[in-house]
Structures are given as C-alpha cells and as structure tokens.
C-alpha cells in the first residue's frame, strides 16, 4: 500500500505511554499511518492540514476534554470517525459520548484485539461515508452534471474523463477556449475528489504581477524584502490537503515557472527568504486557453513544467463542438435568467433558436449565456425574437458575424447600419492594435490617423490596448 492510501489515524492522549503503546499496535498490526497529539488543542491544529480517517481520543485531558473535542471534529468533517476512550468510564458517559456522535466508546485497559477490531470498523465507516458523499454529490447533479448542462457525446465524454480522474491525485491540465467552462471543470474535479471537504484555492495567475504572484503562491518570511514585516503563508500551504487551481497558467513568468516545477516535483515549497522547505499535500489543477506548445517553442514556457502539468489533460469542448447542445443550454439560461429577472414564461421563437445554433460563438457558452441574459432583459413580448439576440450596444469579444445578411431584414436601416459599422470598427481597430502589439502610436501611424483620434475611437468601442501587449 502506498503511504497515501493507508488509513490515517490520529491518537490523542495526555499520557505518553498510552500514545506509544497504541501507535505500536496500530502501525505494526494494522499498517495504518498514525499521528499523535498530547492535547485536543494540538490535535485540532494537526487536523487543519491533514486528512484523518479515524481519531482515537482520551476523554479526560487537561484543557479541552474529549467531549468538546468531539464536537469540534463533527463541525469540521462529519465523515471522520471518532472513538472516545477513558480509564474510568460510566454508562452515562458512554451514552453521552455515543449520542454526541462518537462512533464507539472504549474503557481502558483494553485488549489489543478489541481496539484493532474497533478501529478497523471505524476506518471502514469513514471510507463508506466518504464514498457515499461522492455518490450523493453525483446524484444531486443528476439533471445537471457538476454544473454542466450539455448532453452531446463530446460533452459526456469530457465529463466521464473528469469523473474518472477526479479521485486520483494526479495533476490535471484543463485546456479549452475561453468561455468553455474550465473553472467549472476544475470545481467538479475538486468536488468529486476526496479533498472536497476542504475549500479549493483558486489563483488567477495573470491578475498578479510577477513578484506578488511568487509571494502569494509560496509565501515569504519576515524580512525577506522591504515591507515584509511578518511571515506570510503562501497559497500552496493554505491549500494543504485540498486542491489549488492555477488559472491561466500560460501567463506566469518563467521565474515563477521554475519554482512551480519544484513544487510539483518535490511536493515542497520554499517561502521567499526562508532556507527551510515545507512539504505540502496539494493537488494541482491548471487551466489555459493558450497554445502552450507554441509558447514552449518561443521559450516563454518551460517544457519540463509543461510535461509535469500535462500528466492528464482534459480538453473542454467549444460550443461549436457541441452545436446539438445549444438549444438545451439556451433553454437552461432562459430559465435561470427569466427567474432572476422575474420574467417567467418567456420562450424562444423558432427563428431565434435557429439563429443561436448558427452563430460562430467565439466566446462559447459564456457568450451564449450573456446573449440570453440580455435577451431576457430586453425582449418586449412573451417570446424572444432574433432582434433580442443582437447586441447593438457593445461589440462582441471577438469578431463575430452578427451583421450577416441573414439578420439585416429583421432590422431597421438605422439599426443595420449601426451594427455593421460597429462590427467594422471593432474588427479594424482590434486588428490594427494586434499588428502594433498594443502600441497606440504605432497603430495610429499604420491607420493614417492621429494618436488622439485613435484613442478616442478605442474608448468609444471600449477596446483595451493593454490587452494586446
């Protein structure tokens, strides 16, 4: 058995002899991984960053007693099985213990066979409870598997893959275009894993500048740099026993990539300014919508990190890969937003649904969601028509052919012209900025206009030049 798969038992007793004796029995005869604590207070600290299956605790201890400790454990994780033990038990005490949720109550001195039997049963109980919870979670999601609505073959295959890899500890790389549900997939991976009872930690990598990202991820020691006036725990340590999602991993600087590689390889982190390393038990899930292979070729992404991350890849289907799911998804968002905006009994006209199925959907499910949300707010009657699905006021995230001839005949001259112009401006300016690498002066020169004029246009069409750099 690998160390990770062995049942983890925590023994709490203020008598050293008792701890030694019990540890010896449980390690030798049962092969369990055993940790010990001299007090309930100390045990609670250990519980913070360790997953135990069974806790065996004395009742009479200085400080917090076994009953109070039991209450705390139950608040923390009801799947942990607790056994109380005492030197001078009374029936009243046993009844109290059992009613408060202890699994068993044992009087000292006890024979080894008895304790082994009890702990074996307790381990089994925890295993069943955790398994049950996982299955329950799956059932609850029945109509809506882990938040995913799609029923196309492509989506179902992806969900099966997620369910299969969830319970292991392997690093998973989630790829897919923007708006395909990469974060939702990461949440599902976490929720279906044995780590679900702890909160998942999410890091949006490009949101943080290089040096801040580094100290956020790995922490630092007081005095590591100017302004580090106290120790800081990194997110990896915070995610101990849980899952960490590194969102948009492609955007992290190479220096941080090197450190990340070390975490993945050695399972330990070294805070800035600290000589010591700390071992961590964290499942890493990374996501990206970028071409990592291309980044590797350009030397912007470490190849060895890529292979570490790429142990298991889940690729989220784009909306184009699952066109047959569009009506289902549209209906799902329609129900959600009509409830939210108090506009029930709305429906799509047949034309509107057809229009939704024919669009290119560069922004994928997220874009579909936004379009439906807006339509619910804007539609006049009880039916959503094509007009309600066309956005007159803001340009789409990526060039989208909303102004195709198909939709013209449903619009007034003014609206149609406005649409086409809007689309032209958005595409033209986007391309100009892309070509200029986000440099406004260069772009303006290429377009044959003044810098200020270009800036005005960018503001009007809400294009952020920074996003092209």
């Amino acid at each position: 058995m690998k160390r990770k798969d062995r049942p983890q038992v925590l023994i709490v007793d203020d008598e050293h002899d008792m701890l030694n004796l019990l540890t010896k029995v449980l390690v030798k005869k049962c092969g369990y991984t055993v940790e010990t604590a001299f007090s309930a207070e100390q045990a609670l600290l250990q519980l913070k960053d360790h997953d135990f299956d069974v806790i065996l605790t004395d009742i009479k201890m200085p400080g917090m007693d076994g009953f109070e400790f039991l209450g705390q454990i139950n608040r923390l994780d009801t799947a942990i099985t607790t056994i109380l033990m005492t030197g001078y038990g009374t029936i009243a005490m046993a009844v109290q213990a059992l009613k408060e949720g202890a699994y068993d109550f044992i009087e000292k001195p006890f024979d080894n066979e008895r304790i082994i039997r009890t702990i074996d049963r307790a381990v089994e109980r925890t295993r069943l409870l955790r398994e049950n919870k996982r299955l329950q979670h799956r059932l609850d999601d029945g109509g809506n598997r882990h938040g995913f609505v799609g029923r196309s073959q492509r989506m179902l295959r992806t969900l099966e893959l997620i369910e299969r890899v969830a319970s292991s500890n392997v690093t998973v790389l989630i790829r897919g275009e923007s708006g395909t549900g990469k974060e939702l997939a990461a949440r599902a991976l976490h929720a279906l894993s044995g780590r679900a009872h702890r909160a998942m930690v999410t890091v949006n990598c490009p949101a943080l500048p290089e040096h801040i990202l580094e100290s956020e991820l790995f922490g630092y020691r007081r005095g590591a740099f100017t302004g580090a006036d106290q120790d800081k725990t990194g997110l990896f340590v915070e995610a101990q026993g849980s899952t960490i999602l590194l969102d948009e991993i492609a955007d992290i600087p190479v220096a941080v990539q090197t450190k990340l590689l070390r975490v993945l390889q050695q399972k330990e982190v070294q805070p800035l300014g600290q000589n010591k390393t700390f071992s961590v038990d964290v499942r890493v899930v990374a996501s990206t919508n970028q071409d990592l292979e291309g980044k590797i070729k350009r030397g912007e992404f470490r190849e060895d990190l890529f292979y570490r991350l790429n142990v298991m890849t889940v690729t989220m289907p784009s909306l184009l890969d699952m066109v047959s799911d569009i009506p289902l998804l549209a209906q799902h968002f329609l129900e959600r937003y009509s409830k939210e905006h108090g506009r029930e009994e709305l429906e799509f006209s047949a034309d509107a649904l057809r229009n939704l199925m024919q669009r290119p959907w560069a922004g994928n499910v997220r874009e579909l969601e936004n379009v439906v949300n807006r339509a619910v707010l804007l539609s006049q009657g009880s039916r959503i028509e094509i007009e309600d699905l066309v956005d007159h006021y803001s340009f789409p995230a990526e060039p989208v052919q909303t102004g195709s001839r198909d939709t013209w005949r449903h619009l007034s001259y003014k609206e149609a012209k406005h649409n086409i112009l809007e689309q032209f401006n958005a595409e033209y300016l986007t391309e100009a900025l892309q070509a200029a690498g986000g440099n406004i002066t260069v772009a303006a020169r290429a377009c044959g206009m003044e810098r200020q004029a270009l800036q005005r246009l960018l503001r009007r069409y809400r294009i952020e030049p920074g996003s092209f750099r």
């Binding site: 038990g89 029936i91 046993a94 009844v95 059992l98 109550f105």
Partner: protein, 123 residues
C-alpha cells in the same frame, strides 16, 4: 398525550412504569412478552417504547430494531439492570433516545420520558 409501550420480562416492573406514566396523562400498554409487544405496535403505532434489555426470548435491542424498522419515527428508551457499553452503543446506534440504568427513580423516569417526547414532537 402520548401512546407508550412498556416491555419488561418482570410483570411488576411494567406495572410500576405504567402507574407512573398514566398519572402523567399518557396511555400505557404494558407487555411481558416480546412477540405480543411487537404485534401490538404493528397494529397500533405508538409514540414511545420503553424497553428492558434482558427479556425472555429476544433482547430489547432486537425488539428496538424491529420497532424502528416498522416505524422509524418511534422514540425509544432502554431500561436495563445490566448496563454494558456494548449494548449502550448498539441501542444508540439503532436510534434509542435514552439508555437508563435500573433502578430508576420516579422523577428521573418522568423527566426522561418528557424530554424524549418533546424532542420527538419537535421534529
């Protein structure tokens, strides 16, 4: 007021429990035979069962299991002269609300019954 079933292999014990609880206004059905008690509970759902553990043919724990299976909302108090951690554990895990040790005095019995019945109606 509640419908209460009392089962004990000693007739006097059931009589005593019956007397105390009837004074409190409850209807008490007393039995010394397990099968008769179970057959009664099957036909006439009771609110609370007070069960001795050492009986003639079955144990009170087994009776508890049968009653709970038939009617999961039935409340139960175990009453025994031979308390062990083992039977306490089993009784509680089968859903008994209290596990009391004989001899039990009148005030304690009244108080436990009251407590169990109020907890039951609150659910």
């Amino acid at each position: 007021m509640a419908e209460i079933l009392a089962l004990d292999d000693v007739l006097d014990a059931t009589v005593l429990v019956g007397k105390i609880l009837r004074k409190k206004g409850h209807t008490v059905h007393t039995f010394t035979e397990e099968d008769e008690a179970i057959a009664f509970a099957r036909k006439n759902p009771v609110d609370l069962a007070i069960l001795d553990i050492k009986l003639k043919k079955m144990s009170g724990i087994e009776v508890l299991a049968v009653l709970k299976k038939e009617n999961p909302s039935v409340r139960a108090i175990m009453l025994t002269g031979y308390p062990t951690v083992e039977t306490a554990r089993e009784a509680i895990s089968l859903g008994a609300d209290e596990y009391c040790v004989k001899p039990i005095d009148r005030a304690e019995l009244e108080e436990k019954v009251e407590k169990v019945l109020t907890a039951g109606s609150g659910q």
